[in-house]
C-alpha cells in the first residue's frame, strides 16, 4: 500500500469512528443543529443528512460517473421506500420481508425503466426518466395502489423493531442512516474502481469508441443505471425508517432536480463530492427556515428576508455561481482530475 493510500484509508477510518460516535458527544454547534449534537432533534437532522448523502452518491454513479442525465432518480428511491412502507402498512409479512420487497421493487423498477429509457440518449433520456418518475408521483398523489396519497403512508410503529421507535432511540436511527451511507459509498467506490467502472467513465466520453472496443455499451449503461437505482432503493428504505413513513415528496420532481443540484454542488463524478453536496444541501434546507423565522431576520428589509425564507432561492443562486466559478463543484477545489477540455 502506498503512503498516499495509507493516509487516505486512515483518514476515512477516523472519520467513520467520529461519525459513529456522534451520539455520545454533547456540544452545541452554534445554531447549525438544534440544541446539543446528540439531542434527538439534531440526530434526526443528521440522519436525514446521511441518508440524503447516500442517495446523492447512488445518483452520482449514473449521473456523474456514467454521464447519463437521469432526471427521475426519485422514482427508484420511492420504489424502495414505498415498497417497504406499503408492505409494513398493508401486510403482516414483517420488517425483514418489507426490506426485501423494497429492494426487489427498486431493482426491478431500475432494470425496466432504464431498459426503456436507455433507448434514447442525452436530454431525451433525461425527459423520459422524468416522465416515468412523474407517473409514479402522480399515482402517489392520487392515492392509487394504496400509497396513502398526499398524506403519506405511516408505517405502523408496532411493526418496526422496538429499537427504532421513539425519540430515545433516535441514535439507533442515526446509526441506521450512517450504515446506509457507508454501505452505499462502499459499493459506489468499489463499483467505480472496477474495470466496469472505468468503462462507464469511458462511455461518458465517447460511447461509439467504447462500443467498437468490444463493450456492450447498452448493457454497461443499464448495469450502471440499475445499480444506481438499487442503491437508491436502499436509501428509500432508510429514509422511510428515519421519517417513520413514506412521504409523497420522495417521488416529486423537486426531489430528482435537487439531487442534480446536490451532486453538482459537491462535484460530479466524485463520490465524496456528491455526499458532501447533499450534506450541505439538506443541512441548509433543514436549518434555513429556522434562521428565516428568527426575530433578527423577520425585521430585515425584504431583499434580505425573502431569500432567507425561500431556501430554494439561495440554492439556486449558489448553484449558478458554482457552475460559473467552480464547475468541478466543491470537490473540484481539491483535485483537477476532471477538468473539462474543449475539443
Amino acid at each position: 500500500m502506498s503512503r498516499h493510500t495509507m493516509v487516505r484509508v486512515g483518514g476515512v477510518a477516523v472519520l467513520l469512528v467520529v461519525l459513529a460516535c456522534v451520539p455520545f458527544f454533547s456540544f452545541t454547534t452554534g445554531g447549525f443543529l438544534p440544541y446539543e449534537i446528540n439531542s434527538p432533534g439534531s440526530l434526526q437532522v443528521l440522519a436525514l443528512v446521511l441518508v440524503t448523502a447516500a442517495l446523492a452518491v447512488s445518483f452520482d454513479i449514473v449521473f456523474g460517473y456514467t454521464g447519463l442525465n437521469s432526471f427521475g432518480h426519485a422514482l427508484f428511491f420511492t420504489l424502495g421506500g414505498y415498497g417497504f412502507a406499503m408492505t409494513l402498512a398493508h401486510t403482516e409479512l414483517g420488517f425483514g420481508a418489507a426490506i426485501g420487497i423494497g429492494l426487489v421493487a427498486s431493482a426491478v423498477g431500475g432494470v425496466l425503466v432504464n431498459g426503456v429509457a436507455l433507448r434514447v440518449a442525452g436530454l431525451s433520456f433525461a425527459m423520459v426518466t422524468l416522465a416515468f418518475a412523474e407517473v409514479v408521483a402522480i399515482g402517489i398523489g392520487r392515492n392509487y395502489w394504496g400509497t396513502g396519497g398526499e398524506e403519506g403512508l405511516t408505517v405502523p410503529y408496532r411493526s418496526m423493531p422496538e429499537q427504532l421507535v421513539g425519540v430515545v432511540n433516535t441514535r439507533n436511527i442515526y446509526w441506521v442512516a450512517l450504515a446506509t451511507l457507508v454501505l452505499v459509498v462502499a459499493v459506489a467506490l468499489w463499483a467505480t474502481s472496477t474495470r466496469l467502472g472505468r468503462i462507464w467513465q469511458a462511455i461518458r466520453e465517447n460511447e461509439l469508441r467504447v462500443n467498437v472496443m468490444g463493450v456492450n455499451t447498452y448493457l454497461a449503461k443499464l448495469v450502471s443505471a440499475s445499480l444506481s437505482a438499487f442503491l437508491a432503493g436502499i436509501c428509500g428504505i432508510a429514509y422511510v425508517i428515519v421519517l417513520g413513513g413514506g412521504v409523497p415528496h420522495m417521488a416529486g420532481l423537486m426531489m430528482s432536480l435537487s439531487l442534480i443540484v446536490m451532486v453538482v454542488i459537491g462535484g460530479r463524478g466524485r463520490i465524496w463530492g456528491a455526499a458532501l453536496g447533499a450534506a450541505v444541501y439538506v443541512l441548509l434546507e433543514q436549518r434555513l427556515p429556522e434562521l428565516a423565522s428568527s426575530e433578527g431576520v423577520k425585521n430585515l428589509p425584504e431583499v434580505v428576508r425573502i431569500p432567507l425564507s425561500e431556501p430554494q432561492l439561495l440554492f439556486g443562486v449558489v448553484f449558478i455561481a458554482l457552475i460559473f466559478f467552480l464547475p468541478g463543484g466543491i470537490a473540484g477545489l481539491f483535485s483537477q482530475r476532471r477538468t473539462p477540455v474543449g475539443s
Binding site: T194, A202, E205, L208, V341
Partner: protein, 254 residues
C-alpha cells in the same frame, strides 16, 4: 463466437443504401488470413462505409459478412470486436476527457476479459497497464501517456488511434486513412510500424489510404472501389496500371 485468430474475412453481395443512394453495392470480397489488403478509390467511393459494414457500425442493407465460418452480418459491433475485429476511424474518435494511457488501457483490458473480470478492481500494477505502455511506445507516444487525449494535436491523435489498435492484439485490423494529417517524415515511420505489426502478429489487415506509395508499399493486394462498387482486386502494380484507376483515381501525379 469463434475467431480470435486470423481466418478468412469474406463478404458476399454486401450492399448498403441510404436515402435512395447506393453507397456500397454488391461487394463480394475474400481476404485470406494474414493478407494485407489495401483499399483505394475516389472520395465517396464507399471505402469507409465498407469498413463500417464490416465492424457493424452501419447496418447492412443486403448481403453477408463472414469471419471464418461465423456469419456476423447481424452481430452488434461489440460482439464483432470481441471476435477480434479492431479498427481506427477516419477522423479520430477518442475518449477526449481521459488520458492517452487510459484510452489505450481500456482497449487492453476489454480484450480477452471474461464478463466477471469486469468486476475486478483496477490496480496500478496491472498487466493491462504494461500492454498499454508498450502500445504507446510503439507508435511513439510514450512521452504523452499522461496527457489528456483532448490535448493532443491532430497528428498525434492519429497515432493514438493506431496505438489502440496495437493494444487490441486483434487478428483483424481495419485502418481508415491512418496517415491523414501525419507529417511526411513520420509517414515513413508509421508505415514501417504497420508493416512490422502485420508481420509480427500475422493478422489480416485492411487499410484504406490515399497515400498511394504507402498502400503500394504495404499491400499484398489492392482493392479498388468506385461509386460503391468493387472495380478490381489485384496485385498493386497491376492495379496502378489499370486505365480506369488512372483516370478515376490517380489523375496527374504531382
Amino acid at each position: 463466437m469463434t475467431p480470435r485468430e486470423p481466418s478468412v474475412l469474406r463478404t458476399e453481395g454486401l450492399t448498403f443504401r441510404a436515402g435512395g443512394a447506393k453507397i456500397v453495392e454488391d461487394v463480394s470480397l475474400t481476404v485470406p488470413p494474414g493478407e494485407f489488403l489495401g483499399i483505394i478509390g475516389p472520395n465517396g467511393a464507399g471505402k469507409t462505409t465498407l469498413l463500417n459494414l464490416l465492424t457493424g457500425t452501419v447496418r447492412t442493407t443486403a448481403g453477408t459478412v463472414w469471419l471464418g465460418d461465423t456469419d456476423v452480418t447481424r452481430m452488434a459491433p461489440h460482439r464483432r470486436a470481441r471476435l477480434g475485429l479492431a479498427r481506427t476511424f477516419q477522423t479520430s474518435y477518442l475518449l477526449l476527457g481521459l488520458t492517452v494511457l487510459e484510452n489505450v488501457r481500456l482497449m487492453a483490458q476489454t480484450r480477452g476479459v471474461r464478463r466477471m473480470g469486469l468486476l475486478r478492481t483496477l490496480t496500478s500494477t496491472d498487466e493491462t497497464l504494461d500492454a498499454a505502455h508498450a502500445a504507446l511506445e510503439r507508435v511513439g507516444l510514450g512521452g504523452a501517456a499522461t496527457l489528456q487525449a483532448g490535448a493532443l494535436s491532430h497528428g498525434d491523435r492519429r497515432k493514438l488511434e493506431l496505438a489502440i489498435v496495437v493494444a487490441a492484439e486483434a487478428p483483424f485490423v481495419l485502418l481508415d486513412e491512418p496517415m491523414a494529417g501525419v507529417n511526411s517524415e513520420d509517414v515513413h515511420d508509421l508505415t514501417e510500424l504497420i508493416r512490422r505489426l502485420h508481420v509480427d502478429t500475422g493478422a489480416t489487415f485492411l487499410m484504406v489510404e490515399h497515400h498511394l506509395d504507402v498502400v503500394l508499399g504495404l499491400a499484398d493486394r489492392v482493392a479498388v472501389m468506385h461509386k460503391g462498387e468493387l472495380l478490381a482486386v489485384d496485385l498493386p502494380d497491376r492495379v496502378t496500371a489499370d486505365e480506369r484507376v488512372q483516370t478515376a483515381y490517380v489523375g496527374e501525379l504531382l
